[in-house]
């Protein structure tokens, strides 16, 4: 996983609650056996009509948001299936940060494993940024080390568990870390079998 300390980018307002992983990456695209190349299928049925033409009214298809890399969304982002293809598609499309009032548990974990920062922020603040981003270009900077999101006028604090923050900052390989405890795992296995 690539380390991430700070990220600055254009905010894309996706004003919907309960965005489920079936919308983020529809099932017909889960058959690939690689981790890459999923960005083209992100929000597929919201981005494209039945004939594969772009839906001009969908936020990601509007020219102002083409370079967007910070996604603003409503409550319970990423609910539904455990498919890690959801963060893979967001990352591959270019999103490094998702800001929402709440996240589904499994998605939150999956995002962290892929170097995406899930920023949990109170609903009023998210809503304010959404309105702003709908009307003008909004650039947000996420400083993970100091746990703040900055716009032109303010720094807003956010919480993220320390353990996850460290892993993101250092781009650590979880499995490598765990295997440092291999003697304990082995001891546990012997104790259970005894």
């Amino acid at each position: 996983m690539e380390a991430i300390r700070e990220h600055q980018g254009v905010a894309v307002p996706l004003d919907r609650t309960n965005v489920d992983t079936d919308q983020i990456i529809p099932k017909q695209f889960l058959k690939r056996i690689e981790r890459t190349g999923f960005g083209q299928f992100l929000f597929y049925h919201w981005r494209f009509d039945d004939d594969g033409n772009k839906r001009e009214d969908f936020i990601l298809n509007q020219p102002a948001y083409e370079e967007g890399s910070v996604l603003l969304a409503g409550e319970n982002f990423g609910c539904g299936s455990s498919r890690e293809h959801a963060p893979w598609s967001l990352l591959d499309y270019g999103f490094r940060v998702i800001i929402a009032p709440s996240f589904a548990d499994i998605f939150y974990n999956n995002a962290l494993k892929n170097g995406i920062i899930p920023v949990q922020m109170d609903e009023e603040q998210v809503h304010q940024w959404m309105k702003q981003a709908e009307n003008e270009e909004l650039v947000l900077t996420v400083d993970l080390e100091n746990q703040i999101v900055c716009d032109d006028n303010q720094d807003v604090h956010f919480d993220i568990p320390a353990y996850h923050r460290e892993n993101l900052l250092n781009g650590l390989d979880d499995i490598g870390l765990t295997l440092q405890h291999e003697d304990k795992i082995t001891a546990f296995e012997h104790a259970v079998r005894a």
Binding site: R32, I33, G80, E84, Y163, H181, E182, I185
Partner: protein
């Protein structure tokens, strides 16, 4: 006597490998279930790092999401085939047992785990699938994980986890005649919303839960994730023990009775405290039908769709679903019926649906399919003649798999099609691009298949319930 403990606390204590303050615990995983869709990248990760599967003996794989449910001799979909071939190769290379598409143990991973007795009280169980919560019905701590965590468990047989907060979902009283476990869980999600369980492990308690069969308990726990909870479980009791007695992977004879005593001791102690408790009265629950695009958007079958002005979400959902506001549920015509999925494809589900269907014909504008949850379930149903009942009524009788629940194989609802489905998710496009899903119990789905629209199964099949 120590402090009274919940089932979750007891399981947790037994599985901590390593603990440090301010950090998640390193938890041991007793059973890792694997399927073809969320595992290929994990096995590839092992290869790239020269790692092995630490405990192939605690790992069990099957193929369920992609498999065709008819004409299995030739797999038409080449990309699906590639994914299934990858699982075959991965299991062979890494020494993992696989219930292949043609194997008698094949089926939906959450149906075969319990059937084979792999699922047991007190175990920690994971799978790269959010409906892993199903196994909580046995008093196991079972939850879905992403592919990175699948790789982590394959390599280390552990996961880093924070001790979860506990939420007691207490169901007072008992369910009325003709009201099922599916109606109960839909009513719970409808009452408390699709995110009330986020951050919690839910334990279901109360008389109605105690009176459910193991299959009913699996239906309830299966949909915990639709309420936001990664895991939902039920304390083991005699019903749990009797279900497992004689199953292939449990101890046999006296050793079983000894094991059963250990299992029963895991039940939540009298007086144990939960972080939160919610209550619902079972008597007030009617058969449920979902009208919208998440599982919380449900009403009783006697009800109507909501007012369009309630919220933007309601307006958007009604539009997607092609429904009017305040439209009576029983006026909604359907053209597809799907009886199956890890929520409702077990033998008791099929028996109950068959009872409703017997002596009737599927409405001529409805295409109805029954997809048993496993090869074993299908065999049992055929032994009991259930297949004949379904087929003579006009249902298609298929091979086991996830099928039309998520339409990764050929079992797809066409754009604009409307399906009464016993599955767990009514998200936009879930059963096919543009497809409209209504979640119901197997009995309600069976009655809808015959009438061509939703009806109250308690009236439709009054003779069955008398």
């Amino acid at each position: 006597m120590g402090k009274p403990e919940t089932l979750v606390e007891k399981i947790w204590k037994q599985h901590v490998v390593h603990h440090e303050p301010e950090k998640p615990d390193l938890m041991y995983i007793d059973l890792h279930l694997v399927h073809e869709v969320t595992s290929p990248q994990a096995f590839e990760g092992l290869r790239l790092n020269n790692r092995k599967v630490r405990r192939p003996d605690l790992t069990f794989a099957t193929m369920d999401h992609n498999v065709p449910t008819k004409n299995r001799d030739v797999i038409q979909d080449q990309i699906s085939k590639k994914q299934m071939d990858a699982l075959r190769k991965n299991c062979k290379d890494f020494g993992v047992t696989l219930a292949d598409m043609y194997h008698p143990d094949q089926g939906i991973v959450h149906v075969i785990g319990p059937q084979l007795g792999l699922t047991q009280p007190g175990k920690t169980i994971v799978c790269g699938d959010s409906h892993t919560s199903t196994h909580g019905a046995f008093g196991a701590l079972a939850f879905g994980i992403g592919t990175s965590e699948v790789e982590h468990v394959l390599a280390t047989q552990t996961l880093w986890q924070k001790p979860p907060k506990t939420l007691n979902v207490h169901v007072e009283g008992d369910l009325g005649t003709g009201v099922t476990a599916k109606d109960l869980i839909l009513a719970i999600i409808s009452k408390f919303g699709v995110r009330f369980g986020t951050g919690y492990v839910m334990e279901y308690t109360g008389e109605a839960i105690r009176n459910l069969s193991m299959e009913g308990r699996m239906t309830v726990c299966n949909m915990s994730i639709e309420a936001g909870a990664r895991a939902g479980l039920i304390s083991p009791d005699e019903t749990t023990v009797e279900f497992l007695r004689g199953k292939p992977n449990v101890p046999q004879g006296e050793a079983f009775d000894e094991k059963a005593r250990e299992w029963l001791a895991l039940a939540t102690d009298e007086g144990a405290e939960y972080d939160e408790t919610v209550m619902i009265k079972a008597e007030e629950i009617e058969p449920q039908v979902s009208w919208g695009t998440n599982p919380g958007m449900c009403v009783p079958v006697s009800g109507s769709t909501p007012d369009v002005h309630e919220s933007d979400d309601v307006a958007r959902a009604l539009e997607y679903m092609g429904l009017d506001e305040n439209q009576p549920i029983q006026s909604i015509n359907i053209d597809h019926v799907f009886i199956g999925s890890c929520t409702n494809s077990r033998i008791t589900d099929l028996r109950k649906a068959a009872k409703i269907v017997e002596g009737h014909q599927v409405s001529d504008h409805v295409r109805a399919i029954v997809v048993p949850g496993s090869f074993g379930t299908k065999e049992q149903a055929e032994k009991e003649g259930l297949d004949a009942i379904f087929k003579s009524a006009g249902f298609e009788w298929r091979e086991a798999g996830c099928s039309m629940c998520l339409a990764m194989n050929d079992d797809v609802v066409p754009p604009g099609g409307r399906c009464a489905s016993t599955s767990n998710r009514n998200f936009e496009g879930r059963q096919g691009n543009g497809a409209r899903t209504h979640l119901v119990s197997p009995e309600m789905a069976a009655a809808a298949a015959i009438e061509g629209h939703f009806v109250d199964v308690r009236q439709f099949a009054a003779n069955v319930y008398s």
